[in-house]
């Protein structure tokens, strides 16, 4: 039973345009959400996160939006650059205040983003 779902295996956008990556979750106990970026032959690298008490978090070109009622989050990259081409993983966790004990991450399957020059 997959608790974090990324329904788009791939996404292709033009350089300079906006990239929107989507993620849905089913476990209402999750209270912290993260996006990781992964290049081939490397481990995932933390990109941006959001706590369930917020609905938006912005860091430079990257913004994550959280819609708790819909159990949906999205990552916006604007403007997209060729160097952003990678697999993006959505992840969720239960913090200590939500009954979690170790912040283990539950990941989606990832979305391959290709930014064309």
């Amino acid at each position: 039973d997959q608790q974090v779902k990324q329904n788009s295996p791939s996404l292709s956008v033009q350089e300079g345009r906006i990239s929107i990556l989507n993620c849905d979750y089913t476990n209402s106990m999750f209270d912290y959400f993260l996006w990781y970026k992964k290049y081939p032959a490397e481990g995932p690298t933390f990109l941006i996160s959001i706590s369930s008490i917020k609905d938006k978090n912005e860091d430079g070109r990257f913004t994550v939006f959280l819609n708790k009622s819909a159990k949906h989050l999205s990552l916006h990259i604007v403007p997209s650059q060729p160097g952003d081409s990678a697999v993006y993983f959505c992840a969720a966790t239960k913090g200590l205040n939500s009954g979690g004990s170790n912040y283990k991450l539950t990941f989606g399957k990832g979305t391959l983003l290709t930014v064309n020059p």
Partner: protein
């Protein structure tokens, strides 16, 4: 500061053989996690150490997998005997204290192929 390192980067073994994967976390990180990604699927949690103690083994597939973290430093993950379905990329991650959420830093992974 050195990141999380894993050894080997690749391992190809035959079904029934034994393989040991090693992870060296970032110095000073008490929390160490093992994850696995089977091809085309999500990255799945295997287990979590705090220093040398196993805190959560709920993701370990079966008793063919044995993880250790002697002295609370590096960790090993042994698969014995390996089966075809064990093929995948094994990631190790480490983080500092758990009082607030702390970013998990991932290693490059070990790609295991069981033939």
């Amino acid at each position: 500061e050195a990141g999380v390192t894993q050894f080997p980067s690749h391992s190809v073994i035959e079904k029934g053989q034994t393989v040991t994967l090693r992870c060296d976390p970032i110095s000073g990180h008490d929390n160490l996690y093992w994850y696995r990604r089977v091809m085309g699927k999500e990255i799945k949690f295997l287990l979590h150490f705090v220093k040398e103690s196993k805190q959560d083994e709920s993701g370990m597939p079966n008793n063919r997998f044995l993880a250790e973290r002697t002295g609370g430093t590096y960790s090993t993950l042994k698969v014995q005997p390996a089966e075809l379905e064990d093929s995948g990329v094994y990631f190790c991650a480490s983080s500092q204290r758990l009082a607030n959420y702390n970013e998990q830093f991932f290693g490059p992974g070990t790609r295991l192929t069981v033939l």
